[in-house]
């Protein structure tokens, strides 16, 4: 990895952390808040530009499309999270979107940290295995990574929506569940704990956490309700899914086309592709429920958080929690 690439990637990582703290610090300065929030946006934009350059530099250095292992996919994910937030903030004219801004910065920073802790072999530019030597790689993988980022943002928007809907117990329940799932993935990546315990931690924790959060939807702190913000984040959540769902569909289908081109079967029930189908089905259910107004917005917000957990399981869980399969390129062990 060249020095330029290291500098650019570190710049992106550091700016995401700085922008997170600027978002947080803005609460302490009520008079200057708009200006401080504006600066957080610009700092994140600098990070986004630096990361774009880092990815391009890696591609030039590797002389291939730079998306072939877990580390590179994490860079892409952070890039998509930052880009998607900047897009939302720009199209919605910054107003009130900053509640999502600190979450987006925190997510990007967490993924940078996760990527930086991976073994050196992941950071180094490695030759491709024969199965990955195909133009289909650049068609199949980027839409998937961007869709995962959009679903992440949708789930985070769901959390903010529930917060402004006064459903504080549900929010804390869901945050705890997401942290538990992230811990399982971190332990699966960096420890030698048996995968069965980690699978149980992820799946069991998610099931219990979601049930707890769903039951507690009725507990509403009425004085904390801010209907306009609740509506704004409901809209953002749906907007993210509206972008993520077509991308996930394109990613799954192009994966099928590649698989058929490479080994003669567009669908082989590989664990990762099956999991992507589960995620697709869950968002298809969300869209049906939304269009036909079958359940209220607060429950849809919980569904978007369930989607976040499924996305986490599809993207990182299947490689780190020992599910195996054909998509082992993201695995470390």
């Amino acid at each position: 990895m060249s020095d330029l690439q290291v500098v650019l990637t570190n710049t992106a990582g550091v700016t995401s952390i700085i922008s997170f703290w600027i978002f947080v610090a803005s609460n302490a300065f009520k008079n200057w808040k708009p200006k401080i929030l504006g600066s957080a946006f610009w700092v994140l934009l600098i990070g986004f530009i630096a990361l774009t350059c880092a990815i391009v530099a890696r591609g030039i250095e590797a002389q291939r499309f730079p998306l072939s292992n877990l580390y590179e996919s994490l860079l892409w994910f952070a890039w998509a999270i930052m880009g998607a937030y900047l897009w939302l903030a720009a199209t919605l004219n910054h107003a009130g979107v900053w509640h999502l801004g600190w979450l987006a910065s925190l997510t990007a920073a967490s993924f940078f940290l996760y990527g930086s802790w991976l073994p050196q072999s992941q950071h180094d530019i490695q030759p491709l295995v024969p199965a990955l030597v195909s133009y289909w790689r650049q068609i199949h993988v980027p839409p998937l990574i961007v869709s995962y980022a959009m679903f992440f943002l949708s789930g985070l928007s769901g959390l903010v929506q529930l917060w402004w809907g006064g459903r504080r117990v549900t929010v804390f329940g869901l945050i705890f569940t997401i942290l538990l799932a992230c811990s399982a993935i971190a332990l699966g990546t960096f420890s030698q704990i048996a995968v069965y315990y980690l699978q149980a931690l992820f799946v069991g924790g998610s099931l219990l956490g979601v049930i707890f959060s769903w039951i507690n939807l009725k507990k509403v702190k009425t004085e904390a309700i801010n209907a306009s913000r609740e509506e704004l984040y409901d809209d953002i959540s749906y907007r993210c899914i509206s972008v993520g769902f077509p991308l996930l569909t394109i990613g799954i289908i192009t994966g099928g086309l590649w698989a058929n081109h490479a080994w003669g079967s567009y669908w082989s029930w590989d664990p990762k592709e099956s999991m992507a189908l589960v995620t697709w089905l869950s968002y298809a259910a969300y869209i049906h429920l939304r269009i036909h107004r079958e359940i209220p917005a607060d429950k849809l917000a919980v569904v978007s958080c369930i989607g976040l957990l499924l996305t986490l399981l599809t993207y990182l869980g299947f490689n780190t929690l020992g599910f195996g399969g054909l998509h082992s390129y993201g695995q470390l062990k």
Binding site: S134, F245, T249, G324
Partner: protein, 463 residues
């Protein structure tokens, strides 16, 4: 009047969502549990232990995607999708040409988002309509199709987005058709083939309900090799196949590699894996082939010499040297004896060892898929459908009423997607008229104050 189709519960959204959720949960179980058909029974036992593994197999969890429960769910989901498509999704296409009704102020104020303003008409304007002209022009610039009748207008944007559910459902139903055609007429399989041997289709797999036929030709492996990265990792595998008829006449010769399949007679042959079957040696001129097994990046064979020592042969690919090691039980690691290039010899303990080369084995996957055209068309429809869903479908209504010198302007609409951006657009459109309203209100208030002051002055003067 035509009677509307009704499939009751089968076409309901609740039923669809329940079936989707159950299918997703079942697939999740299948993704978590090693599938016997993919990884073999040993992996199931390895994951769960012998006793629990047997229970998992008996419960059908190790063959989730062929279990009666999963097939039942797929059948129910297909029925639900068919019912919903014909009852709700496709009939909506007929409503695309329907014109939206024009609404008066009362109707607009019932919309999910609306704004109303009142302001003073410009002197000399009696019929009004100026504000609607401006709104019409602004909406047209934003790509709305406008219908206007007098002082009422309605605009629509993103009509094409309404095609999304129909196009996606056509794609999903076509996918079912394509998969059925493949299942009833197609076949597939995998065969490791040694250099010089033939790929045949006798052991291919196909469904029980099968009306297809197998080819009467075979593919002879006339060359197969591996290309490496400088680090020794495999870069690409190649196989040259000669397609022969049943009399051995060569019909076609072609090379295939990973991601570059060979197609002949609607059968696709794929390079799936590559390995070394054995190494060809001569011991003092006597030919021997020794089978090898993968060991890390290399392939190796163990030849016991006596109870205490073993000779190890190790090779990477067709071009690499053959490394020969010896290992005794009291040695910590094997010791290298010699390296021999392909076609060359070495003498070891009075025996002349000639390395003739490797006998490679290429892993070939094959399939005939007559439903693939329908499946690919279905993929196309699904992708177009979900992309169309990205386009927000929006409706705007506006009306203007003039009463003496007062103009009442109402504007409202709906946008299921990107609601906030839509509301901001409407707010921006009505902003100039809100300013007029404020100016008029200020003017009225000022006049009122001035009137009161004059009245007070008159009162004081009269006192």
């Amino acid at each position: 009047m035509s009677k509307k189709l009704s499939f009751g519960i089968w076409s309901s959204v609740k039923m669809s969502v329940i079936l989707i959720a159950l299918t997703a949960a079942t697939i999740l179980v299948g993704a978590w549990c090693p599938q016997e058909g993919q990884v073999g029974r040993e992996k199931v036992f390895e994951a769960f232990g012998k006793d629990n593994g047997q229970i998992v197999i008996n419960l059908g969890l190790a063959d989730t995607y062929h279990s009666p429960w999963f097939l039942f769910l797929i059948a129910m989901l297909s029925l639900s999708m068919l019912a919903a498509s014909f009852e709700r999704v496709f009939p909506r296409l007929l409503t695309l040409k329907n014109k939206m009704p024009l609404l008066d102020k009362g109707g607009i104020e019932k919309l999910p988002f609306h704004k109303s303003v009142e302001y003073e008409a410009e002197p000399g304007t009696e019929s009004g309509g100026k504000s609607l002209d401006e709104i019409e022009s602004k909406l047209k610039k934003k790509g709305f199709n406008i219908i206007r009748e007098g002082n009422k207008l309605t605009g629509e944007q993103g009509l094409i987005g309404r095609l999304a559910p129909s196009v996606t459902h056509v794609g999903l139903l076509s996918l079912l058709v394509g998969v059925t055609i493949t299942s009833w007429t197609g076949f597939n399989g995998f065969q490791p083939v040694k250099l010089g041997e033939c790929l045949s289709f006798e052991d291919s797999q196909h469904s029980k309900l099968w009306i297809g036929s197998l080819p009467n030709w075979q593919g002879r492996v006339i060359e197969t090799r591996r290309e490496n990265h400088p680090t020794g990792e495999p870069k690409q595998w190649y196989t040259t196949l000669a397609i022969e008829d049943k009399f051995g006449k060569v019909l076609k010769t072609a090379e295939l590699s990973v991601n570059n399949p060979l197609t002949y007679d609607n059968v696709d042959i794929y390079q799936s894996s590559w390995g070394i079957d054995s190494i060809a040696l001569k011991f003092n001129g006597q030919k021997q082939t020794i089978p090898v097994n993968p060991m890390g990046k290399r392939f190796a064979a163990f030849l016991p010499l006596d109870q205490d020592s073993v000779m190890i042969f190790s090779v990477l690919d067709q071009k690499s040297d053959l490394r020969i090691f010896a290992k005794r039980s009291n040695w910590e690691a094997p010791k290298i004896l010699t390296e021999i290039k392909p076609g060359q010899s070495a003498t070891l303990g009075g025996v002349t060892l000639t390395y003739d080369g490797i006998i490679p084995r290429t892993g070939l996957q094959y399939k005939r898929d007559p439903g693939i055209f329908v499946v690919y068309t279905a993929f196309g429809f699904i992708m177009i459908g979900v992309l169309l869903a990205f386009i927000p479908h929006r409706h705007v209504w506006a009306c203007e009423e003039q009463n003496d010198n007062k103009i009442s302007l109402a504007i409202g609409g709906r946008s299921p997607k990107a609601k906030i951006a839509f509301e901001r657009m409407i707010e921006k459109i009505i902003e100039p008229y809100e300013k007029l309203q404020i100016a008029w209100q200020l003017k009225n208030q000022t006049e009122k104050i001035v009137d009161e002051q004059i009245r007070e002055e008159i009162c004081q003067t009269s006192k």
